[in-house]
Amino acid sequence: MKFIKLTHLLVLALALTVAGSGCKKGPQKTTPLPSGYAGKVPSEPGSGDPLGSSGKTDGSGVESGKLPGDPTAQGKPGHDGWAENAETFKANTVHFAFDSSVLRSSDASNVRSVADHLKSNSAQAVRVEGHCDERGTEEYNRSLGERRALAIREELIKLGISGDRVDTISYGKDRPADSGHSDAAHEKNRRGEFILLSPPAA
């Protein structure tokens, strides 16, 4: 505390020795200002895909060489334009403990049902959606949701489903199943959901 007061004294002492410098009276030069920024919102999408791709980062042509012990890669986003059905596997939603992406044994049968369906319907695929409750920050949750989806995907692959039939996506905490704030709501939100994908009609 004394040191702080001392500093003020020193500033004053210094000020007295340099008083009077740069002292001009009256308003000085006029400063013209730039006009405001007018951002442009990208135009509404038409019937085609208006978004150009850089061509290098859409996954096409990317080698996904597998190293021993590596989980199966996902290559490029598959199943664009496939029909989606969120009802088929609604009862198979998997749930997770807080801050965890470990599949619980109680959910083993849920995942197995999905695998069985895919084995019987070889043309179909599935997207696993990972979700989190609100008790986490946004990007941490986005990554955790993806880890949950990946854990489910690994299990499906172990059960014999080819990796190119299983897509993952994470919504972080953006799409709660229950918008409440209780522990019960949180539990419902920490989940992995299955969306059945069917090839577009030819």
Binding site: L6, T7, L9, V11, L12, A13, L14, A15, T17, V18, A19, S21, K24, K25, P27, Q28, T30, T31, P32, L33, P34, Y37, A38, G39, V41, P42, E44, L51, G52, S54, K56, T57, D58, G59, V62, D70, P71, A73, Q74, G75, K76, P77, D80, S101, E134, T137, E138, E139, Y140, R142, S143, E146, R147, A149, L150, T168, I169, S170, G172, S179
Partner: protein, 392 residues
């Protein structure tokens, strides 16, 4: 044993007088974050919106308003149509700023004036900077860009879907962000001047958390295309993709050191405890950054002067903004909030504050040295604004 204060005074004063013969000395005080007192100012003669701007802009840079006889800086002037403003330094008996402004709006003139003032006393100005953020709109969310005080927000996207994690490119009106518009978590690049955009990363799995390097040449991001949520880096045109981490744990929210040599990110140690790590941006082994026992650090941001890493810590259901020295060490708690983003002045942070128990956020600005903070102007038509990215 107490030092004799009188002797100390004599010693210091004699030092002052001797060095003043050789030129100015700068008295700086390295204070711990949150340990500084605000610089006291007084405002008179200026009213209405111009006064509001001056008060807000200075408060979030560590100034506080008080009586004229207690203030160091006296701000006076008028705002009939245009702003005329003068700042005098009561301690040093000098005029710091004396200007008349014209053009644009009164609001913008006031921002320029604040910049003129803080720059005249040796600080970096932030009053004309912008912040990108995510705003909830109806069922989805869009990216917005606004003045740093929340005014004049413009929509960057209008996709009616979900977005996340804007990352402004330094010195440009351009950014990267995540959009779910194509039914997938993809990273886009968008030029705000032309409005044109392109897909930047659309690998299989999810493409998350883009972070552009300070020199704009590289982008770090979290990709799950190889089966785990890992940290990758590539050139700004998308080429030369390199995988930096190889761990079963999910990495998240990368940020860059100001010299571009390191990427700091959140991950978990093998014992499942969350930690911050840094890794050479050209590849190498990740090194944990100690936060002095502060739990669950996430969403780091490295200050532009290289000295501090701000991050979010989680205590049960509560989130706190912390800073830690960039080399690691004891973390300092600053304010309840999440997802900090440094201003170019390395002292003001934008962050998101949970608005009651609703799960919605408001954006707020914190002055780290004084812990003063104030919410920015809210976006009309949106009940939640979060994930700020300060345009540096």
């Amino acid at each position: 044993m107490k030092k004799n204060p009188l002797l100390l005074t004599i010693a210091c004063v004699s030092t002052i007088f001797s060095t003043s013969l050789h030129g100015q000395i700068t008295i700086t005080q390295e204070t711990a974050p949150g340990g500084a007192k605000p610089v006291l100012v007084n405002l008179s003669g200026i009213s209405g919106e111009a006064a509001q701007v001056i008060q807000f802009d200075l408060y979030v840079q560590g100034f506080a308003f008080t009586n004229a006889d207690a203030a160091q800086y006296l701000i006076s002037g008028s705002n009939n149509g245009n702003l005329q403003a003068r700042v005098s330094d009561r301690f040093n008996k000098s005029t710091v700023v004396a200007k008349a402004y014209s053009g644009a709006s009164l609001r913008r003139q006031a921002h320029v004036f604040v910049d003129d003032f803080v720059q005249a006393i040796g600080r970096k100005g932030i009053a004309q900077t912008k912040i990108a953020f995510k705003g909830k709109t109806g069922k989805g969310s869009e990216i917005f860009l606004a003045d740093f005080d929340g005014f004049s927000a413009v929509g960057v996207t209008k996709d009616g879907n979900l977005v996340a994690a804007p990352s402004m490119i330094s010195g440009e009106l351009a950014m990267y962000y995540v959009s779910y518009k194509l039914n997938h978590a993809d990273i886009f690049y968008q030029n705000l001047t032309s409005g044109s955009r392109k897909i930047f990363a659309r690998y299989g799995g999810s493409n998350l958390s883009p972070a552009v390097s300070p020199d704009g040449r590289k982008v770090a991001m979290i990709l799950s295309k190889d089966g785990w949520a890992e940290l990758y880096v590539c050139d700004a045109d998308g080429s030369d993709l390199v995988r930096l981490t190889k761990s079963k744990e999910d990495e998240s929210s990368p940020c860059w050191s100001p010299d571009g040599k390191w990427i700091c990110f959140a991950t978990k140690q093998s014992n499942q405890r969350r930690t911050l790590c840094k890794i050479p941006s050209s590849g190498g082994s990740p090194q944990p950054i100690s936060t002095g026992g502060v739990p669950s650090p996430t969403e780091p941001d490295w200050s532009p002067d290289g000295k501090w890493i701000a991050f979010t810590a989680q205590f049960g259901k509560s989130f706190q903004i912390y800073v830690v020295p960039a080399a690691g060490g004891a973390g300092t708690s600053l304010v309840e909030g999440e997802d900090p983003s440094w201003a170019p002045n390395s002292r003001t942070l934008a962050f998101a504050r949970r608005n009651g128990g609703s799960g919605d956020y408001v954006l707020s600005l914190l002055d780290v040295p004084t812990k003063q903070y104030k919410d920015v102007s809210r976006l009309s038509g949106s009940n939640s604004q979060s994930q700020p990215s300060w345009a540096r």
